[in-house]
Point group: C2
Amino acid sequence: MKLFDEDLQVLNVGLASFAAAIVDAGGKASQIEWAPPAHGNATIGRALARLVNHQDVEAANRKAYAAYLSSQPILEGIGLAKTTIPGMGRRMLLHAGPPIAWALMCGPMQGAIVGAIILEGWAEDAAGARKLAESGKIKYESCHDYGAVGPMAGIISPSMPVWIVRDGEHGHRTFSNLNEGLGKALRFGANGPEVLTRLGWMAAKLRKVLAVALEVSGPIELKPLIAQALHMGDEVHNRNVAATSLFLKRLAPALLKSKASRSDVAEVVGFIAGNDHFFLNISMAACKAMTDAARGVRLSSMVTAMARNGVEFGIRMSGTGARWFTAPAPLVDGLYFPGYSIADAAPDLGDSAITETAGLGGFAMAAAPAIVNFVGGTPDDAIANTTQMGHITLGRNGGLTLPAMGFAGTPSGIDARRVVDTGICPVINTGIAHKEAGVGQIGAGITYAPLDCFANAVSALAADLPADRGG
Amino acid sequence: MKLFDEDLQVLNVGLASFAAAIVDAGGKASQIEWAPPAHGNATIGRALARLVNHQDVEAANRKAYAAYLSSQPILEGIGLAKTTIPGMGRRMLLHAGPPIAWALMCGPMQGAIVGAIILEGWAEDAAGARKLAESGKIKYESCHDYGAVGPMAGIISPSMPVWIVRDGEHGHRTFSNLNEGLGKALRFGANGPEVLTRLGWMAAKLRKVLAVALEVSGPIELKPLIAQALHMGDEVHNRNVAATSLFLKRLAPALLKSKASRSDVAEVVGFIAGNDHFFLNISMAACKAMTDAARGVRLSSMVTAMARNGVEFGIRMSGTGARWFTAPAPLVDGLYFPGYSIADAAPDLGDSAITETAGLGGFAMAAAPAIVNFVGGTPDDAIANTTQMGHITLGRNGGLTLPAMGFAGTPSGIDARRVVDTGICPVINTGIAHKEAGVGQIGAGITYAPLDCFANAVSALAADLPADRGG
């Protein structure tokens, strides 16, 4: 009976209203925030319980994470998609995110496809292109299924140039298209004459000049370059000004030594110097090389891809191979350009979340305090985001360190189990496209991967576990 | 008598041993660190007391600081010292720091002078050059007296190329020599054939190519460039990797459009791309332009220059014009290259502390957490240094902001009164030269301006005050 004689000391876990009632009645209560995993879904909770601390899962994750850590992405060259990407068909278009049919695609992705069809010469104008696009004669495939990644709409057509990145440690190759710059760009769904003219120049001139320059420079190791950019305020997703400058500093002497004509060199240097996001696509291919190194480890709950097609957000996990786990793509609460708001925005779009999957982008925001001018928030938020991602990742990447956090490695190797267990979802820095085709970028901001993707992934992984013995 | 019945509550200001004695006897005492201004020198203390909160001094400082804030340093061009720097004589050598005679100079400065004499063709070899150097036939002058600044030994000889920076707001010009790169370099006292060959190339080729490129690019505004570099991890004293990259990104397209030959462009781009400190000298000239804007305001205690000749550390103050206040130059406690220690070091050397005078370098260390790999300490120390400098400065420069401190402006406008009052001395990030001529750089680190410079400056300024009325 002593309990009733003493002052009540209450620690309330979960629903805050219980604690509030005690405080309202004049008592004292400390509130601990907690919610049951997977929004209280019992099936997923049970799947999670089987996976947590399971020695086979732990061993698989150690193996997958070690492979990611040892990856050495190297920029090897540049080529045309049709002759470079294995399996790329003649009437095929690659797009960002998990697979999706034409009729279901968001506005900017359809807009980009219309542009790509005209670029390829498969149709004369937008009307003809749209007709062809919905005719069933074009094969649409996910970039990720072809070792590729593309920002925003992520359209890669056969005659577009692509970066070629090789993992020097494990040997696999990844690809990405080339960055067009900000404003009106195909990746944001714009497809007007100036967009197509620039893409034509990129395929003809830019590709050739960069190819001869890379022959002179030789392969460029990307991890040290990204590591240096992290020390210069980039997170190599939405901030690439340092990485682009470092890349240009590496490339310019090679360009000048190459056989490219002086006017071509001037044009190319001017183009790269005028686009602080030029390195983004190289960063993405490097990140895919790093996460692909961790693919296919049976029972590993490490996330190997996060990608959005503007309708669905999808993730892949090492232990479940090429299977996508999807949920509706969220809208992005960000900084909108004057005249636009969230009402104008397409849902989250693009393969660029591969940077977060590799521990960069939003996960490395502590390296890039100045990015808050672009995506919103304060420098303290940037550090808080990185700190929080430490709760859902397998380790710290000692090759990619963050000065503002005492040179700790960036949190990396998203563990789907921990996402579901903590309810902390991966943070993503992203650009925002207008929801209608042909408009372009209207802002940038921060969003979170949907919990359901991870819940479904955890559920699938648990099904692969051998039956519990005596449990 | 109540005092003796109560528990003793002690707040001890100053000498800690009083508090320690109470604690040792079982009592409680809180210690407040404090020391009398100017190490307890009563004369200086009285001078300080007259200056603190003096309305004329406050008004003068507001005027000087506003002039500093409004300065707009612009890189206008490049020229030869002899035809560019007003008053530069034919047999004159400029050096870093306050004026000093040959016989008193430190080893690296003498080494650099020997090299400059051979470079100018005034002597055939080191022995001849040394003989000429001590003959009295060479006029040695302080860079600062000619509107110039030079890092480390800071030797500027008549046929060296110099950057020309103009303050777009106030019209005055400043100058600096060109950065040779790390390792064996004249500024660290090295004077071997490879050093002189490079200096010859810089005067002949580099100067001409940069001159035509600057004609194409037009004048380059330096404050926005420096502001951007601060957002990319530079403090533009010992870390200039971002600023150099941004400068090259600006210059490369102009170089390619200029009439310079392709091989010359390649050589120059390669040289700049290979030297992450290339921007330092431009930064220094920009900083001198900003602090020179604050010169000559009667009764202002704002510091307008800090410079070291390797023997003496000197400062200038707005209210006392061109007069130097000096104290022995300190040794630098830093990170030494393998095989070297503080026993091998020359005392603090160079005009580069003009960056700290302008609120950059050590004052802006919060912008450059990665610099601790070069000068020692931790990223938290970097933020602490910037925070501490806020106690001795007149304001925050809103044009030069620090992301890690919530985009606060960098603390700037050193108030000599506050230095003496608080005992907090300006922090300086600096390179370290070997004490003997001809060796070169042996490390980098952090040092502090000597308090005595500021104490003497305060004393002199008080003497300019009108006699106290009725005080």
